[in-house]
Amino acid sequence: MDTMGIIFSNIYDNNMGELTTDRTSASIPFGSRYRQIDFILSNMANSRIQNIGIITKYNYQSLMDHLGNCQEWDLRMGDGVRFLPPYATGHTGAYRGKLEALQTALPVLDRSESDYVVLADTTVLCTIDFNLVLESHIASGCDVTVVAKAGKADGARKCPLAVKLADDGRIADLAVDYCAPADYLVGMSMFIIRRDLLMRTIRELVPHGKYHFEREFLLPQYNEGKLKINVYSFHNVALFNESVLEYYNNSMALLNEDVRHSLFRSEIPIYTKVRDAVPTLFGQKGQAPNCLIADGCHLFGFAENSVIFREVEIDEDAEVRESIIMQGSRIGAGAKLRCVILDKNVVIKPGTQLLGSPDHPLVINKGAII
């Protein structure tokens, strides 16, 4: 069954603070060498979804640069993968929600010969086979399949979509932007829907002022009995990066072997842009206990419990703990960092000390010199 993909590159930008100052949430670096979009794009590529529209709003320069011609994903930019910038309405190009954003995808949806569409964000990171989701969708006979994860709701975290299943597997409750209790599944912002139904929905609802996919389409139509929803319960690791703190905690979670092995599987790899960096050099006194470390680094100092991206330099006697150090940052001799997120190309001068806390990591902007 032929399926196309639509990726929303910046739905949660507002929650990610300095990390999205000049990039979309799709291009936030994650996991020591990736950008967030690498996960969903690799999942689609590995599920043989090759016709993919990437909906963008603003700040997508770095995303275009990252994807290039998409050869790393075995996809083809321009013939298969397309950027879909905002639909020009005359006064404003910005959109307020996914439904409205999808307007820009109408021509692509219209031209496509696919039966189904996978809709996804870039902020939920996992390794998923969409063929299995599609099989479940078709078998259910429902109109929409929602991919959801148990064990994430805690009564405090606001879930864009939460669903409670009855013992027989049918939906007992569906809620939007709800601080759902622990027995709810949390939507992973991944959906499967028939292409013709999606197009009809966009054409009907958007002109009537509706823009929010979950709140103004799924929820009311489900409640009115017009829409049958299937829930695909996802059992592997899924990391939700919807705030800076979640981003930090999820990065630290990668130091756990089970999490790593669930996300990174050699038969279905996560692809990313090739940098042609040299392997990482450990110096005589360079140590990195409990660290995830990319290639191209020079490690002469000490790092512990940290995630280190490509081409990072840590000089002699520097100490980095519980931190995330993005690509190209340099940490001078004797500097001490704890609970810090260094964005790309930050320079920490020798001897500098920076201290964040595990509930409030200190974020240092791209290119800063401290």
Partner: protein, 393 residues
């Protein structure tokens, strides 16, 4: 199809068996042997070509070509996937008459005169697939053209005591070559040939044709073409190269070249910005995880490794898993090797895909003379086994 005229076409000799690398080249052509954690030997001449703006490269293969062909693919990792030139793998092929294997280095080029002629190049650059170095061939080409040379040979200065192991070029003050001596007992100079040649294509073509007609010839550049050109009073020049260069045709030189990458001021500086990088086909692996129990000193760690043991003065290539309580010293671990808990590896080269089972001991700390143990591709070393220093498995 209309072919663009090229200033220079590079021909890379990658057909040799590399028998001195023993088990490492049992099922692999020498240029495809892994190097430096994520590279293969052929990445060096290929990247040099690209960095020297040479965009047309023919790779002459004949021994175990499958892995090499797969690795080269469409040439995209090196930017050699252009529609005007790019990289071409050239195995020997059946012709309507005189079908044969490549008989020698010169014969390999002779059999591909048709390929080179398509580009009507002014010059042809002949390269070897078993050298580790970074070189700007454009400089050599300029030198070649400024001297209106028929053949320019890259040379490097070697210690006089070692000169008798090399092909030595004896030159006049202006760099022109008057004599070539293969492994001379009493060397007159220390200009050792690096096996890198630039020829005027029109001149080389004539000499290749004459050489082919000579039934006594070994069809070799060093033994036949160069001496014949000298006898025939062609203009030959030596081009001095001063950077790092290593022929990795033996186990010990391959080991040494790997070790030359290590340290804050490495003997071979592999680093470079765009235009000076060494490119390789990349694997989609996650970053390496260094466990709490790991201890790493003075080593190269490539992507996709999980390290829980001691790694000292060693190269760990992509996708290696190093268990707890292991000890790896002065060794080259090639891609996708698993070293189980408690295994010890000293002064060894472990080829791709090996599994060293728990408690096995390979090699020994050098005691006087350094003896390098070598484990061939995809071998399994059983639990607690002991492999002596210098053993080849």
């Amino acid at each position: 199809m209309q072919f663009q005229k090229k200033h220079c076409v590079a021909m890379l000799l990658a057909g040799g068996q590399g028998s001195r690398l023993m088990v490492l080249t049992e099922n692999t052509a020498k240029p495809a042997v892994p190097f430096g954690g994520k590279y293969r030997i052929i990445d060096f001449p290929l990247s040099n070509c690209v960095n020297s703006k040479i965009d047309t490269v023919g790779i002459l293969t004949q021994y175990q070509p499958l892995e090499l062909n797969e690795y080269i693919g469409n040439g995209q990792p090196w930017g050699l996937n252009s529609s005007h030139g790019g990289v071409q793998v050239l195995p020997p092929y059946a012709k309507s008459k005189n079908s044969e294997w490549y008989k020698g280095t010169a014969n390999a080029i002779y059999q591909n005169i048709g390929f080179i002629d398509r580009y009507s190049p002014d010059n042809v650059l002949i390269l070897s697939g078993d050298h580790i170095y970074k070189m700007d061939y454009a400089k050599m080409l300029r030198f070649h053209e400024n001297n209106d040379s028929d053949c320019t040979i890259a040379v490097r200065d070697v210690p006089l005591a070692e000169a008798s192991r090399f092909g030595i070029m004896n030159t006049r003050d202006d760099g022109s070559i008057y004599e070539f001596e293969e492994k001379p007992k009493h060397p007159k100079s220390t200009n050792a040939s690096m096996g890198i040649y630039v020829f005027k294509w029109s001149v080389l073509k004539k000499f290749l044709e004459d050489d082919e007609a000579d039934s006594k010839s070994e069809n070799d550049f060093g033994k036949n073409i160069i001496p014949n050109m000298l006898t025939d009073k062609q203009k030959l020049y030596a081009f001095n190269f001063e950077g790092y260069w290593k022929d990795v045709g033996t186990i010990s030189s391959l080991w040494e070249a790997n070790m030359d990458l290590l340290g804050k001021h490495p003997a071979f500086n592999i680093y470079g910005t765009v235009g000076h990088k060494i490119y390789a086909r990349n694997t989609a692996m996650p970053s390496s995880f260094i466990a709490r129990s790991a201890e790493i000193h003075e080593s190269f760690i490539a992507e996709g490794c999980e390290v829980s043991g001691l790694v000292d003065h060693s190269i760990l290539s992509t996708g290696c898993i190093i268990g707890k309580g292991t000890e790896i010293k002065d060794s080259v671990i090639m891609p996708n090797v698993v070293v189980e808990n408690g295994a010890q590896i000293h002064c060894a080269i472990i080829a791709e895909g090996c599994r060293i089972k728990a408690g096995a001991r390979i090699g020994a700390e050098p005691n006087g003379e350094r003896k390098i143990a070598v484990i061939g591709k995809d071998k399994e070393i059983s639990e607690g086994a002991v492999i002596e220093a210098g053993a080849i498995v």
